[in-house]
């Protein structure tokens, strides 16, 4: 038995064109425990998004396996929630209808699930915007609406693909902490990709550093920040913050050596 909710073993993936093969992922192995927050950082274009798509089951790895070990002992792949770079709320639907999109697609519009969405709406401060159109919301509210759309499907594992990168810096600090608090409070597991090292240190329990293409796991860094309140500023002011930041920076750069 592994201690992990899901465990990647020797995942390999290549892109093929007529000009040849580009190896994107090379024997990637790591595990994620139930309830853990893992951030994946790596140089641009190293195949982070590809890795996330493989975990989500959107594409199949060419080699390697993913082992699953759910805490309740049930078989089957954990239910995945995926958050993309932009919120992609559909303009022709109201905020509420947008949140039901996943349930509609999976034909799970049961009373229980509808009540759950209503509950989430109220809990996360969007109750008053239920019948508004997405363009009437601020960037942070849109990202929250997108989170509710994802949570409505009751996922066990959340994947965030640069989910905050479309927001301006100040909003991003607040919204990323906000959304991670929500996910943490529901006890879900999360894997996030980010370019922002400070974001990774602030939010994750463990950071996985990938090398440039073909990506391999360069280092795994567990993060323990001493903070007394869950705010982004508190995390940045934690005494360990700078050491972690420098460590990850070094891991990334002696690979990359910034030409």
């Amino acid at each position: 038995m592994t201690p992990y909710l899901i465990e990647l073993k020797n995942i390999c993936y290549s892109y093929h064109t007529l000009h040849g093969e580009t190896k994107a992922l090379d024997r990637i192995s790591f595990g994620v425990k139930n309830g853990e927050f893992v951030a994946i950082v790596g140089p641009s274009g190293c195949g982070k998004s590809t890795l996330l798509s493989i975990i989500a089951g959107l594409i199949k790895p060419e080699e390697g396996t993913i082992a699953v070990n759910k805490p309740d002992g049930s078989l089957g792949y954990p239910k995945i929630g995926y958050m993309l770079q932009k919120d992609h709320l559909l303009d022709w639907r109201s905020v509420y209808q947008n949140m039901l999109l996943g349930l509609e697609i999976r034909k799970e519009l049961t009373q229980e699930n509808l009540d759950y969405v209503d509950e989430l709406l109220k809990e996360y401060g969007l109750g008053a915007f239920r019948d508004k159109r997405p363009f009437e919301l601020s960037g942070g509210m849109k990202q929250r609406a997108a989170l509710i759309r994802t949570l409505a499907l009751k996922p066990e594992l959340l994947l965030l693909d640069e989910a905050f990168s479309a927001l301006d810096y100040q909003t991003r600090l607040i919204v990323s902490a906000d959304i991670c608090n929500i996910i943490r409070s529901t006890g879900k597991t999360m894997i996030m990709i980010t370019h922002d090292l400070s974001e990774a240190v602030r939010l994750a329990d463990r950071i996985i550093v990938l090398t440039a293409r073909p990506a391999t796991v360069k280092a795994e860094v567990p993060i323990h920040l001493t903070i007394n309140e869950p705010s982004p500023l508190a995390a940045m002011n934690a005494p360990e913050f700078n050491d972690y930041f420098n460590l990850i920076w070094k891991e990334l750069n002696d690979e990359n050596s910034f030409k």
């Binding site: 559909l90 022709w92 999109l101």
Partner: protein, 271 residues
Amino acid sequence: MKTHSNSQLTNQELFVKEHRKHHHQVAAYRILIFIGFLLLWELSVFFGGLDAFFFSSPSRVLQCFIDLTLNKSLFMHIGITLLETLISFLLVLIISLVVATALWYSGKLSEVLEPYLVILNSLPKSALAPLFIVWLGTGMSTIIVAGISVAVFGSIISFYTAFQQISQSEITLIYTLGGDKNHALTKVVLPGSIPTLISTAKVNIGLSLVGVIIGEFLAARRGLGYLIIYGSQVFQLDMVITSIILLCIIAMGFYKVIQYIEHCIKKKLLK
């Protein structure tokens, strides 16, 4: 206070006033051009500058309109042309939606058919009309097919292009929510393409009318196209010009109707 004549208006009211004034001016110039044109036309004929036999005149058009209504059942001809245009327009919409959806589903199919679509789209469709007459006879079906042939290929290409311009990440969103290609079509691609579908429809109704008139030139005993050809053959140019003016009004009417439908859909979509 007395120094400014508009001192009781706020800036907002001034802005609204300016805006209204602009719109009234545009409307006034439009009407002025129309009346000026009619006057110039009528007077040139009246003072002998233009030969009324060839160029008709507004009063003769009006007289002709009344005669045609009384003796030649003008409204039957108008009705036939309208009906044929509407049927071919609706068929164009249905055919191009179905074909564009099929092309969207199968990348291979669209790649295979691309050169054929391009050729058929650039082919002058009036060249096909004689063939339709031989194949389908001189009835209404020939004319409807002629109307379809003018609009349908461009419409397929526009619809398909609209489908392709839907952002790939919105389609990825559907997949991340557990959907498949059918969901991507019904939840994102079709609703996201509605603005393009409507603007294509605006072009299509005009093209269908063009096709129907070509068809009526060659193969009809009824309709405005027939009246134009008949009028030119018996040198009743009043009849020709009256029919052309009626076509202008029909084209404008179609455009307005689609504009109204567009307005309703937009209102419904955005609250």
